[in-house]
Symmetry: C2
Subunit: 321 residues, 2 copies
Amino acid sequence: MHSFEELAVKFENHFNKRHFPSNPSTLYDAAQYILKIGGKRVRPVGVLMGNELFSEIQDDAFHVATAIELFHNFSLIHDDIMDKAPLRRGVETVHTKYGDSTALLAGDVMLVAAYEEINKIHSSKLHDILNLFNKTAKEVCEGQQLDMDFELKDQVHFEEYLQMITLKTSVLLAASMQMGAILGGAGAGNQDHLYEVGKNLGIAFQVQDDYLDAFGNPDKFGKQVGGDILANKKTFLLIHALDVANAQQKKELQHLLKGNDPDKIERVLQIFKDCKVGEWASTLKQQYFNLAMKHLEATAVLHSRKESLEKLAQYLLPRES
Amino acid sequence: MHSFEELAVKFENHFNKRHFPSNPSTLYDAAQYILKIGGKRVRPVGVLMGNELFSEIQDDAFHVATAIELFHNFSLIHDDIMDKAPLRRGVETVHTKYGDSTALLAGDVMLVAAYEEINKIHSSKLHDILNLFNKTAKEVCEGQQLDMDFELKDQVHFEEYLQMITLKTSVLLAASMQMGAILGGAGAGNQDHLYEVGKNLGIAFQVQDDYLDAFGNPDKFGKQVGGDILANKKTFLLIHALDVANAQQKKELQHLLKGNDPDKIERVLQIFKDCKVGEWASTLKQQYFNLAMKHLEATAVLHSRKESLEKLAQYLLPRES
C-alpha cells in the first residue's frame, strides 16, 4: 500500500507531460497552461487509493485518474470565466491570459481530452466508468448553476446549500474513489461505500474551508481571512448564522450584507461568535468525517488496506482546525 | 432503403423529446431551448444513412445520431457566445436569452449528454465510436480556434482556409457517416470511403454557402446577400479573389475591406465578377462533389443501396447554384 505522498508523486510523474498536440498553439497552449499551475491532485490520488484498496494499482487507474484531473481543470477554466476570477493559485487564470473565447474552447477541449483518457481503458469496465463519469459531470454543472442561482436569492436554506456544494465539489471526489474501486473489481456494495467515503470527506472539507475562511490562522490558511464575508458569499457559516440568530442579530447581519462597512468582517465575525457558529461548524465537519469513516469501516476489505485512506482523511481534515 | 426525408422524420420522432432532467430548470431549460429551434438534421441523418448502407438501421445508430446532434448544438451554443451572435435561425441565441454563464454551462452539459447517448450503445463498437467521436470533437474545437485566429490575420491562404473550414464544419458530417458505417459492420476501407464522402460533401456545401452569400437569390437563400462581404468574413471567394486579382483590384479590395463604404457590397461583387470568382467557386464545389461521389462509388456495397445518399448529395448541392 502506498501513502498519499507516494501516490501523489506517482500520479505527478504520470501526469506531468504535454497533454495536447502542438497546433493550433493558440488553443492548446492555453489548455496546457492551467495544468502547469498544479494543485493537490487529491481527486486523482483518490482514484488510485480506491483502486489499491481492491487490487494492485492498474494502468487503467492512471488513465481514469488523469481523466478526473483533466475534468477538474476543465471545470476550473469555465468556472473562472463565469466568476470573472482574475487569479487562481496566485497566477493569471486562463481567460485573463488568453481571452474568454480561447479559454472557453480550451475548457471544451480539456473535457474531450478527459474522455480520450477514459477511452484508453482496456478493461470491460469502460461502460460502467463512462456511466459514472457522465453522471458526475452533469452533477458538477448542476452544482455550478445552483451556485449562480443562489447568488440572486436572498435566503438559501441549509439543505439547499448542502445539495449545491455536494454537487459542485464533493461528487467528483466520491466518483474518483468509486471509479478506482470499479476498476479494482469491487462489488456494488463496496463501490457504494467508497462513493460515500469520498462524498462525505468532500463535504467535511468544504465545511472546514468555510470555517477557515472566517476563523483560520491567515499564515497557515494562505488566503485572506474573511474573504467570503467581504464577498457576501453564502457559506455553511452564514447560512447557519441566519438560521439561529435572534431578531436583532439577523437585522444587523442583513444590514452588514447589504453594505460595505469598513468593519464588516469584524462585526459579522462577532455575530458568528455570539451565535456559536464556529463550534457548530466544527461539529458538522466532524459528523461528515465520521460518516466517511463509517463507510470506510463498512468496506469489506482487510483493515490494513484502509490505512492510507484513513491517513488521507486525517491529512485533509486535521482535528484542530 | 429510406430517403432523406423519411430518415429526417424518423430521427425527429426519436429526437423530439426532453433530453434533460427538470432541475435545475435554470440550466436545463436553456439547454433544451436550442434543441427546439430545429435544423436540417443533416448530420444525424448521415449517421442513419451510413448505417443503412451496411445493415438494417440499428437502435445504436439512433443513439449515435442523437449524440451527433447534441454535439452539434453544444458547438453552436459555445460558438454563438464567442461570436456574440444575437440571433440563430431568426430567434434569440441561448446566451442572449439566458446569459453567457448559463449558456456556457448549458453547452457543457449538452456535450456530456452527447457522451451519455454514446454510452447507450449496446455493441462492442463503443471503443471505436468513442475514438472517432473524441478525435472529431477536438478537431471541431481546433477549427473554431483557427477561425478566430484568422480574424486577426491580414492574409489567409487557400490551403489554411480549407483546413480550417474542414475542421470546423466538414469532419462532423464525415464522422457521422463513418460512425453509421462502423455500427453497420463496415470494414476499414469502406469506413474510410464513407468518411471521405461526408468530408467532401461538407466542403462542397461550404463553398456553395460562400457562393450563395455573394451571388445567391435572396428570396431563395433566406439570408442577406453580401452579409459575408459586409462583415469582412474570410470566405473561399474573398481568399481566391485576393489570390488572383491584379495589383489595382487588390488595392481596391483591401481599401474596401478596411472601410464601410455604402456601396461596399456592390463594388466587392464587381471585383469578384471581374476575377471570375463565381465560376471558380462553381468549379471548386463541383470538384468536391465529384470527389464525394467517387468515394461513394468506391464503397463496396450494391449500387442500389447508395441511391439515398446520392439523392442527399444532390439535394444538398443542386447543380444550378
